[in-house]
Symmetry: C2
Subunit: 608 residues, 2 copies
Amino acid sequence: MTTHFWSGQKPRHSGVRPSATAHAKTGGAHIRPLAGPRPASHQVPAPLHHSEPASDRLRIIPLGGLEEVGRNMTIFEYGNDIVIVDIGLQFPEEDMPGIDYIIPDINYLKGKEKNIRGVIITHGHYDHIGGVPHLVGKLGNPIIYTAPLTAGIMRKRQEEFRDAPPLRIVLVNGQTKVPLGQNFVFEPFHINHNISDAFGVALSTPLGLVLHTGDFKFDFTPVNDEPADLHRIAMFGTKNVLALMSESTDAESPGHQTSEKVVGEELDRIIAAAPGRIIIGTFASLLTRAQQIMTLAEKNNRKVFIDGRSMINNIEIAHELGYMKYKPGTIIEEGEVRKIPDESLIVVCTGAQGEKNAVLMRIANEEHRFLKIKQNDTIIFSSSVVPGNERTVQSLKDTLVRHGARVVHSKMMDVHAGGHAKQEDLKLMMRLTKPKYFIPIHGNRFMLQSHADLAISIGIPKENIFIADNGQVMEFDKKGARLTTEYVPSEYVMVDGLGVGDVSNVVLRDRRVMAEDGMLVVIATIEKKTGRLIGNPDLISRGFIYMKENKELVEKTRMRAKKLLRDGDPRSPAFAEFIKNKIRNDLGQFLYTQTKRRPMVLPVIIEV
Amino acid sequence: MTTHFWSGQKPRHSGVRPSATAHAKTGGAHIRPLAGPRPASHQVPAPLHHSEPASDRLRIIPLGGLEEVGRNMTIFEYGNDIVIVDIGLQFPEEDMPGIDYIIPDINYLKGKEKNIRGVIITHGHYDHIGGVPHLVGKLGNPIIYTAPLTAGIMRKRQEEFRDAPPLRIVLVNGQTKVPLGQNFVFEPFHINHNISDAFGVALSTPLGLVLHTGDFKFDFTPVNDEPADLHRIAMFGTKNVLALMSESTDAESPGHQTSEKVVGEELDRIIAAAPGRIIIGTFASLLTRAQQIMTLAEKNNRKVFIDGRSMINNIEIAHELGYMKYKPGTIIEEGEVRKIPDESLIVVCTGAQGEKNAVLMRIANEEHRFLKIKQNDTIIFSSSVVPGNERTVQSLKDTLVRHGARVVHSKMMDVHAGGHAKQEDLKLMMRLTKPKYFIPIHGNRFMLQSHADLAISIGIPKENIFIADNGQVMEFDKKGARLTTEYVPSEYVMVDGLGVGDVSNVVLRDRRVMAEDGMLVVIATIEKKTGRLIGNPDLISRGFIYMKENKELVEKTRMRAKKLLRDGDPRSPAFAEFIKNKIRNDLGQFLYTQTKRRPMVLPVIIEV
């Protein structure tokens, strides 16, 4: 498959943005528009590649993560220096059937690779590291600055991509100060998240300090981690912070985020009271939770069997690096599961989102090699439900309950704590850092707006708050700062199987049409010399109607096609295209009248 | 289009049920299995049509609504008498692209039409009335017993279906007692819901009283309605209730359902404080909410413009019948909207679920004829988010906020009250009615189980609680009652455009495959006499790859197809089928290796 980073993909947001994009229905659910409309003031064309060096000014450009949750990537540019924070992936929207995931569009960086002084990766979750294997080579394999656990997870993932170069990683910790080119100095600061080694980014620039929180929460009683470094964050606040970029994933939720300790206590109660086996479904990357489960298993004299390749990988990496602590013998192998009585066993597995091939789904559907649900099982969903997965998770719970298991989920008890700051936490971050400019990041527009409203509520002037779009350039100089009307490309780059960026909107549109109402191929054989139609046209349909049970309609359609094919003048050179259009339009209309469905009509004319 | 009520559709649940059904990915989201597995004890084959009269025993058969939310329909059968409660529709699952909705399978009633003594419709929501236009004719157009508002809504809807017979409706109210055949007497009892005129069903049978709640909540301070008739319900409780069938939609939620009065107070505060125009998105059928808005508009000196055909119809019907009260002039017409200042206007519209063509979506996407979002607009989502619609609603909110509107939704404030009893309400219903047997209805298996757990918690013996599947027969006689292993057909009957039940699983599977990875048509022309391939095979692909940008792969595929076509012996009679299979398998495998995608491969052989 060819790939098309630099050319193939038509930029979704560059310069002028369409005011409203077509949207389609797929899978029975109504679908969001690919991109919402923009206020008219943004509709100013701008050069695609702003190639003059940005002297004396700082440009901050979010390439992803600002109109969505996922695909986080931010560019900082000053003079000839570029620093990148995170290169994530995003899971596809409902109107993108067959797409595996989406990565950022890096066209803006084309020709600027030599300016990239480093890539900072804040933590090891896919929405922050997922684009690396696809993109790092194209960026000239710059040095990656990150923490040890993140590095371990990234290296492991890189192995899955044969064509990707080995990563060049420099490890950082809370003491590190890294000069990046002439204009930037980077230092990480410790925050809490639901994976170890997550940090925020403090970036000194000639115009002042810019803080980027990454994903964070303040956990005053974290598990197997230090509390966020409030003193350091407060210290930044005394240094005239130019701008705070703070994550908005949970900006709609009032209050404080739950501490991991509370989750631990609740899990402990449930584990202690469970009559039989316990199966805990969670995210593979939720390593603080995995640690809790190990500790509680040891406390409650249970053994832990871990199932799910990604989770095993992550736990092994974290354990090797000393980020997870458990006794030898706590984790058991597949062969030992049978020997452990149910009341001494905890199974930890992936699939709490109802992912099709993940372990919990396979157990529920009796497709697992050796685990089957029993009457006395307690199944804990120690995770939130990612928006869009609600029905799948509902159905998974149905199946588990049907087998007689008891199901506990986070709406019923505190068996999950999010990794993201809620409103009071977000306000604390703003109060501690006292930024001049505030830029809400990571989240749908609605979340960014909620976060901006919080900022206004604590006194940050509205005009100093920038709610940007993906690709929209923010500029800082001695005179001040502004959200410009310049957009760099920030198109969705879709990964489908081995293809990266080769699934165009045309291909997607076709998939949607065929998903809705199927398709009908009309094949006509024509004698080349005379243009005479040979025999009757053949019809093949898939996903439209069951032809054997709709013979009358099929025959009517065939006769209609035949008539169309005879009506035209077959010797005219434009005949083939003309007649194909005619077949498409006429049959399409006819079939809609007959069935109220709009299958894709594909005319094929064979000349012999 | 032909329809296939009595024959075409392969029953999904009849007799033996598959232990786990295949499931597929569509639209980027992971998909739930169509049906979960059953415990082994249920796997006993049973006759499809249990045709002997059920003498001396009461059979209760849920045809829908027990493994899902929607498609409610229950059969009560005693001797030669059949009573039906509700005939609803259900919205499609994510793995049913293109399907409009799903109605119950009534194959069990084939040949028993003459026994149907009546259809009782509990209220006017689509999950209780939606199947009527499609099914009532096939049931012999039996008499429908319902309340005036429900009747009005049903009659209006019936007009949209040209082939459906006029409904034969008998109106009932709280004083009515209707003998239905030799064995049943029906009386409605008043409960609260978020549409007026909803009632529960008390059905006297030779074995005792059976209560069916319909959808209900207890609202002690309802708006424009009487509180649920607690005295009547308590009176039933003194008469040895044989069985209570009670709805489970909100059985997972602790506490009491919010009263409409609370919603009214919150809406009043928001309306009073709003600086400009107010746009309220809600369900078209949520008529108690519509009434609140009228009242509050009058109180706050605002005019109301209603947009959305279904909502206007419902309000007109309710108003004509005296169920809604507002002053002349409160509701304004389209032409007047321009003349009303923003601070004196409320727009009430459909589309709070992000439905593609509904009003709110059109306003957001700037596709509305004359309404556009402005800076000072307050937009209230006075509705819950139906599971599966989360991402669409999120995106709708994004778009509205982008235009500068303020958005208020029910997670932020009490701007919506559900229509369904929560746990304390459900327990009150059980305590008041004191049933011997308890049958949780309306909801996914998980909800039914939660409801059963509540019943156990208040002392109903576990063995007297029946968690049934759709189609599973419950039998009551003098010796007792049991959940049998007999299943009657309860297949999904899918409505797609004008076709009812004609979209088979084959058609759906094809839609899913094409949605995932598109398709490739391989057309080969062969000389009939010699079997010689004429020219090269033609390839057409849609939704797979963009052919123009993948010429190399296209050529390789074409050459591979050519080789396959030459390898076989074209004069053998089975050649065509054989070579088609070979093309499908070989090219399928080849394309997967090259792209990790699995398009549908459609070989077409033209003989000339």
